[in-house]
Amino acid sequence: MLEINHLRHSYGSHEVLGGIDLKVDEGQLLCIVGPSGCGKSTLLRSIAGLLKPTQGEILINGVPVAGTPDNLAVVFQDYSRSLFPWMSVADNVALPLRRKGMSGARRRTSALEALEQVGLEGAAAKYPWQLSGGMQQRVAIARALAYRPAFMLMDEPFGSVDAQTREDLEDLVLQVRGVHGMTIVLITHDIDESVYVGDRVVVLSKAPSRIVGDLSVGLPYPRDQIATRQLPEFVRLRADVGRLVRGVPG
């Protein structure tokens, strides 16, 4: 599905990505963790085609990424800037569907469907700034879902919401992942979150970052915020990821 070969990127003389090799299978939910400033966002922006990496190549389904890929949607951390304040919630969700040449009526139906999936069917006519932060991020997720991407990228999607909302949104991602057989890459600096949400966790080192750990998460589904986090397997994985992020030998 996604293949990254020898990816390097520098801003001027500052090297952020120091050679990343990564393969993600279809349908996988991969979490990428790393210390702050390690180039996680640079990696994500390169995959999304928003940034041209200095070196290396990225293939999606065997096709090199040049410009922004068609079958991909991004959910950014800063929902308040990523949603358009001059449009209603439904129009925000429907907008990207213009790329698919859908009629206005079909765009609207799809948008309402996606809003229902994230539990916001009642907010369609509202404006983003009339909603709470967590609800706004749900709208952003609905916008990505409506687009029916083969591939969803999430850049610290729950970094700006409170703890309770964060848990709800984590569960939302787990719930929608199966919907269209999406492959999801979620970037986070939260170790617990990566283990709880992912079925695979890749750990990046400090810049110039490389992959220092690649763990498969064998936790059972459905996951539960309380029960899953109590499992010995969860505790062990969290410790492993934590050591890798801190650069402490395990």
Partner: protein, 257 residues
């Protein structure tokens, strides 16, 4: 709260008018030089039914509208271009910085010489004066567009033109609206000034004409009051439209500050 504000303002205006009236009646001000308030107010009301005066007002407003419209058509795209193309902006900046401080009224002789008849010169100067607030506001509005909003649309595979149309323009619209409001307030000043100097038709020409006849100061003042009232109404309407259309912008600005 707002009722109280309006009431207080009304009391202020009424008080001023009463003092002026009293000063005239008590002989503190010579009524042959400055007519009584009551006389001026009477004339003001009378002018509203005066067909000749109304056609002068129409001529001024027509020039204002035409000039503003032409300026919008020219300056908004130019502002978008300058805001999105930093190289063009840098190349034109010295010229713009030189032109901008020139008072548009100082260009009246030039305009009257270049554009014939007077009516065209008036519109040309209005266009010139309106260009600045429109150009500058549009330019800053475009620069103010959130890069993440543009990136969001790009990430869904939209091209630069789509991003310009669907993100940059709506996001800049409130700034353009402010530019239009500021420009509109300038149009009346420029129009009346050109009419005062060059005659022709319009409120300014009416004022010049009236002031040449002795004892017509009441008409001059009444005409001035109408000019002020038109400016006030225009500003009120545009401010209201801005609030209504760009509530999302106000909410946002209010939310972050």
């Amino acid at each position: 709260m707002t009722v109280r504000k309006v009431l207080r303002g009304a009391i202020g205006v009424a008080g001023f008018l009463l003092v002026a009236e009293a000063a005239g009646r008590l002989g503190l001000i010579d009524p042959t030089i400055l007519p009584l308030t009551s006389t001026v107010l009477g004339r003001t009301i009378g002018l509203a039914a005066d067909g000749d005066f109304l056609s002068e007002v129409g001529a001024t407003l027509l020039a204002c509208f035409a000039g503003l419209l032409i300026a919008i058509v020219l300056a908004v795209p130019a502002g978008v271009a300058l805001g999105t193309l930093p190289k063009v902006e840098r190349a034109t900046r010295p010229l713009l910085e030189f032109l901008r401080p020139i008072p548009s009224l100082a260009l009246i002789p030039l305009a009257l010489f270049v554009f014939i008849p007077t009516h065209n010169a008036k519109i040309a100067l209005i266009v010139y004066a309106c260009t600045w607030p429109l150009l500058i506001n549009t330019m800053y509005g475009v620069r103010d567009v959130d890069p993440l909003a543009k990136e969001t649309l790009r990430s869904f595979g939209f091209g630069s033109l789509a991003v310009l149309w669907r993100v940059t323009m709506p996001s800049t619209a409130p700034f353009i609206a402010t530019g239009i409001r500021l420009a509109a307030s300038v149009t009346l000043i420029v129009a009346v000034s050109v009419e005062l100097v060059a005659g022709g038709e319009g409120i300014g020409a009416f004022l010049t004409h009236m002031s040449t006849g002795a004892g017509n100061m009441d008409f001059v003042l009444a005409g001035t009051i109408w000019a002020g009232a038109i400016g006030l109404v225009a500003n009120f309407l545009l401010t209201g439209a801005e609030r209504r259309l760009f509530r999302w912008h106000q909410e946002r600005v209010g939310g972050t500050s």
